[in-house]
Each structure stands twice: as structure tokens, then as C-alpha cells.
Symmetry: C3
């Protein structure tokens, strides 16, 4: 199985699929091609939230603002999964989450993340390495077998420190637990505003009111706990605090955009 993730929209991913299918009949699954354009951190967030749910696969992830520069291509192997993409920080948080999920399932599988550089020759284009570099790489890794990638000439083992790590900002919670300050990581297709404040900050507070900027909102365990059109704070499926609106877009009421600072005060 090969999964595909990118910020390419449509129809560029089709060229990637065509190239892959020239050499393999692997099952292909689109994770998404609507990642926020050229936003490495958002790509890491969304791939971390989706890819660890998959069974063993080669996951090709291409959000590539440095396409055509001399940035490396890397591969990370986590158990029976392989991640392949440009070395710009997207892959490492995904690998870490995959590793934790695999440890939960099989236990005792520590230190199961292995890093590789993937050497590529001059591609056909300078602007579409998804098609010219990463699609053929994914097909080659798939057909070689994830357990045997070292046998590919293009693959060289490297230490983790030789690869780029995307840093997520930390949220801070004040000493008396009455306020938390974080950042908007992404806004989803429902308009839910997803912050980096850990969901534990809202534990046992369902029904309490908090303020975010000039908005006062109830802490709830789900959307329907407030009236249609009302704002709410809840813990999303990814474990972080979200600023949402029941049957509406969080962005309509909370005046927040991606990368804005968010302060929640009780």
C-alpha cells in the first residue's frame, strides 16, 4: 500500500499516481492533497493525525517549498511503515506518532525509528519533484519491501540529527491553572480552530465558561452541548483544545487565524 499526501490540490497528484502505477500495482490511498500550501508545520500536524491510523504502507508526503534547491530527500522507517519526502521537517513528527502507536499495539518496540537519505538523480523538472523524484521513490521502496530498503542503491542510513525536525510551538499553562496561552496550529474544513493547548487543560471543566480574546464560550464535551450558532471550547479528536461554533465556523466568532496567539482564561 502507498498513501499520498501533498498540498498539490488537483490535478498534479494524478501524474504522481500514473508514474507509480507504471512500475507497481500497489494499492494507492489518497490521504489528502489539500494540505495548507507550503506550510510545513500544518503538513506535519495533519499527517500525524491521519497516517498513524493506517496499516503497513509507504507514505509519500510532499509539501515542498524548497523544491528544486539542494534540500535532501529522506526516508524514515518506523516498524513496517516507510515515510518518504523532502527533508524539511514534515516527516519526523509523523514518524514519532507512528512509533508511539506501534508501541501501544505491540509493546516494547522502543527506538524503532530509522533515518535514511534518499539520493536522486537530476529530475526532469525543477518544480515537480512529487512526480519526478518522490513518486518513483515510493514505487521503488514499495517494490523492494520496507524491511529491505537498505538494499536500494539510493538509500543511505543517516543519524536522526542529520535530518530536519519541524518544531511545534509549546503552550504554557499558568501555575494556578486558570489560563493557558498557545497558538493556532490549523483550521479545519469545518472552521474548527485547532490550538496547541493540550486537552488536559479543559479536564473536568465541562459547563464552565472561559474567555478567548473578547469571546466567552462554554467548555463542552461535544458540539451539541450548546445552541446552534454558539461558541464552545472542546477537546478535538487530536487531543488539543479547539475553538468551535455549533453548526457554524469557529472563525465566524473567534477572531483567530493560523499562527495567532490564543489565550484561554477561566
Amino acid at each position: 500500500m502507498i498513501t499520498l499526501s501533498s498540498d498539490f490540490g488537483s490535478p498534479y497528484p494524478a501524474a504522481m499516481k500514473g508514474v507509480i502505477l507504471q512500475t507497481t500495482d500497489a494499492r494507492l490511498i489518497d490521504v489528502t492533497h489539500e494540505l495548507p500550501r507550503q506550510d510545513v508545520r500544518a503538513a506535519a500536524f495533519w499527517c500525524r493525525e491521519t497516517i498513524p491510523y493506517f496499516p503497513s504502507a509507504v507514505h509519500v508526503i510532499v509539501v515542498d517549498p524548497g523544491v528544486g534547491t539542494d534540500r535532501d530527500a529522506i526516508m524514515i522507517r518506523v516498524g513496517d511503515h516507510a515515510l518518504i519526502g523532502p527533508d524539511n521537517g514534515v516527516l519526523r513528527p509523523v514518524a514519532r506518532q507512528l512509533s508511539e502507536q506501534l508501541q501501544d499495539e505491540t509493546m516494547g518496540l522502543k527506538n524503532n525509528i530509522e533515518y535514511f537519505r534518499y539520493e536522486y538523480t537530476e529530475p526532469q523538472s525543477a518544480t515537480f519533484h512529487g512526480r519526478d523524484v518522490f513518486a518513483p521513490a515510493a514505487a521503488a521502496i514499495h517494490d523492494c519491501g520496507i524491511a529491505s530498503v537498505e538494499t536500494l542503491d539510493a538509500v543511505t542510513s543517516v543519524p536522526a540529527t542529520a535530518t530536519v525536525q519541524c518544531k511545534f510551538p509549546s503552550a504554557t499553562i499558568d501555575a494556578d491553572d486558570t489560563s493557558a496561552t498557545g497558538e493556532v496550529l490549523v483550521i479545519d474544513d469545518f472552521g474548527n480552530i485547532i490550538t496547541n493547548i493540550p486537552g488536559s487543560f479543559l479536564a473536568d471543566r465541562a459547563g464552565e465558561m472561559a474567555t478567548v480574546g473578547t469571546t466567552t464560550a462554554e467548555v463542552t464535551s461535544t458540539f451539541a452541548d450548546v445552541d446552534t450558532g454558539d461558541p464552545l471550547l472542546t477537546v478535538g479528536s487530536h487531543g488539543f483544545v479547539e475553538c468551535d461554533v455549533n453548526h457554524g465556523q469557529g472563525t465566524e466568532i473567534f477572531e483567530l487565524e493560523v499562527k495567532d496567539t490564543v489565550q484561554i482564561r477561566f
Copy 2:
């Protein structure tokens, strides 16, 4: 085969697919993940227009404004098809259409709609039952076999009346057949305004002019019967009257939105 329908956009459906593929290698087909957000009636409309064209499959349909409340999960079996989703009215119109289509094909298959409650245990999240409840349910039903769903512990037969029915509004046609009043059900990606007025109201009227609000439009059998940019009334592929514009968006000329009242007068 498992088909997936939702209002999730991207990338949430990928997590559903990952969960499904953990336990089954069923073929997966996306019907759509762009259903109008949290609009139960629109979801019923679009799934009714697409799902009955499929061969035997488990169809998971998640438009779920009540996620995290105590609303049930239900399953409807129609011949060799199974529909699974939240019990909020979406599934029943789809089941009915599926049943009629199967009766056309095989004849004599009356009363082939069976209703079940699908019991689920406390899911991982309160806001993403697509991933935590319905994806595993679809995989379980698929691997059990649609004909044998009663053997699943989670499945309990219930009467139709124990499930929620989404009501579509009725259109009215006046006694002398010169005007019809209905409602906008959905607007498609072409900007075609799809009403609930039955196509039969336009029968034998191609070439006549009618008014809708302040717009006068020709009744045509297809788009190209009027000039580029001109409005028209036609019977869409779903059998209802549409307010369209040739090579344009119906919404540019007809001042109509979803749920607006539409009156067509000859």
C-alpha cells in the same frame, strides 16, 4: 466494497480509511466528502442520487451534527446493500431509493428494507465518530457479510419507526398546472439550483417561457438550447426542475439559496 460519504472535507476521511484498512482489504470508494456541512437533508439528497448506482456494498454515510450526543447509530439493509451511519434521517431516503432500484432490476422484491440499531462502546473521541465508531462498524459489517449482520453482537433488529426519517418538503402544483411552488434542495458544483418540483411539471413545455421571481427563463431539454449566459429551466438528471444558466452559474441570475421558496409561473 465499502463506499464512504461525509461532510468532512479533507483530510479527516483518511483516518476513517486507515481504520477500515487495519482490519479489511475491502475495496474503498469515496462517494463524496463534500456534502454540505451538517445539512442532513442535503446529505440524504446527494446520497440518494449516487449510492443506488453502486453494486452490492457497505455504504458508510456520516453527516453528524449530533456527534457525541446519545443519538443512535443505525444500519439499514436493502437487499445486498448495507447503509451505516448516525440515526438522524439521512439513511432512510437512500434506502428507499436503493430498494426501488433493486425492485426495478430483480422485480417482486417488496419490503426488502430492514432496520437495525448498531450498539457502540464509548469511543476514543466525542467529536469524530466517523473514525471511532462508523469506520470500524463498516469494516465489521463488511467482513461479517451483509447477509449475516444479525450475527454481530452490536446489531439489533428494530422497527422502521424506531429510526429517524428525514422529511423532504413537498412541492405544490396549482390546479390549472400554470404554477408550481417548491423549495431549493441543493445547489451543485456547477451552480445549478436543484428544486423539489417534480420534472413532470415541465413535460411538453420545452421552448415555453416561465418566470421565477424576477427572472424569465426558457424551458429547455438541455443547457445548449439557450445562448451562453442565458437562464433556463430544465429537468436535471435526478428528475427535478433545476434553475440553471448555460455556461454559467444558476446562482448568478436566479437569486436563490438553499431552502429558499421557488415559484415557477407560466
Copy 3:
């Protein structure tokens, strides 16, 4: 394998897939359903840029502003590929590109493009031939085998001249090679403005400055050669000159829309 391309958005393509899967278990791959609506030239451009990367397949391509009129359905066979769609010019540029790609791979395969009319009976709807005509046609061609399509009753061989050819406009380059005048063909999902000016016009000019309208931009080999937010001219993956912005949308800086004239002056 059957690939699907259209301007249908969502969810109409699902009905096409359902119809196809009623009679075949062919692998289905979406090329795109987001082709610019009813723009025959843009459809030809994007399908030409993606479909030739695929291995042998039936490619159904439906951008169909003349749906419901008496325009023909055609099929073009190129080696072991078949293209099927309305006869409005979209298919021929795709066939030509496919043919060139196959010639590169296998050599000596000249004159490998064959044209056919595909006769269809009165379809269920006048507005959705994707579902009612082209989906069943694709399934029938797939199951018959591309090499044997002549055995289908619906298929009649015709000369190329009996089919519609979509014309792309020509760009002109002045005698002293200091300016080129062309047209915007399409704008992609990144906001890159893709012209019909051949990439060769920028050969050996990386680092030079050129003007496009009131904008001055550097010629680069890739995006990251200019600062974030700066305009650039580069050769895209399709071989044409693009007007782009690094980490931004070309459309924010260059005041250009599809079909606008573009003049580049050194």
C-alpha cells in the same frame, strides 16, 4: 484500469463510478474532477499533462458543454490506451501527447492514433451523459479489451478529420529574441499562471530580469531562487513559461487571468 477526468466536482463522479462498477471490477483512478468548468482547452491542457504518465488504461474524460445536443461521442485508441468522451476537441491533444510518449518508450510506433465514433442510444438524462453514456462506454471498452474495440457494435472507425480538434493558441517570439507574446492557458491550484510561451524562450537566462505588464520579475530555475513573496518567471513541469510568486500566488502580483495576453520583455 479506468481513469476518470471531469469538471463535475463532487458528488456526480460517484454515480459514474457506481455505473462502471456494476459491470466491471476494473481499477478506478481519479485523474481530477476539478477541471475548469466547461473549458475545453483547459481540460485538454490538464489531461495532456497527466494522462500520458499512466500505464495502459481506458481514460474517460467528460467536460461537456454540449451535453444533450447531437455532438458525437468519440473514442481514440493510442497504442494500448483508449480515450473516450464527447467529441469537442479535448481528446485529440491528449492522444497526441500519449502517442509521443509511447514513441519515446518503444520507438518506431508512428501513426499509432486511431479514431472511432461511439454510437449511443437515447440516455436516461439529457444533462448527465457522464453517468448515462460515458461510464457504461468506458466499462464496455475496458471489458472488451482496448485491442478489440472494433468488435463492439457501438464502435465505428472514422478518419481523424471527422473529429473535433481543440486548437491551442500559438505564442510568438520576436526576431531578436527579446520579447515573447502568448496567452494564459490555465492557472493552477498554487496560483501559478501557466502560459503557452515555450520554456525554451527562457533558456540560459536564469538571473536576468524581465517585465510582464507592469511587473518586473527574475528568471529562475525554481521558486526558492527569489525571496518569499517575490515574483519570478520559470519553466514549469509542463515545459511552458509560468508567472509565479515564491510562497505565494502568481495572481497576487501579476494581473493576469485565463485567456489574457501575456508579453514578456527583456
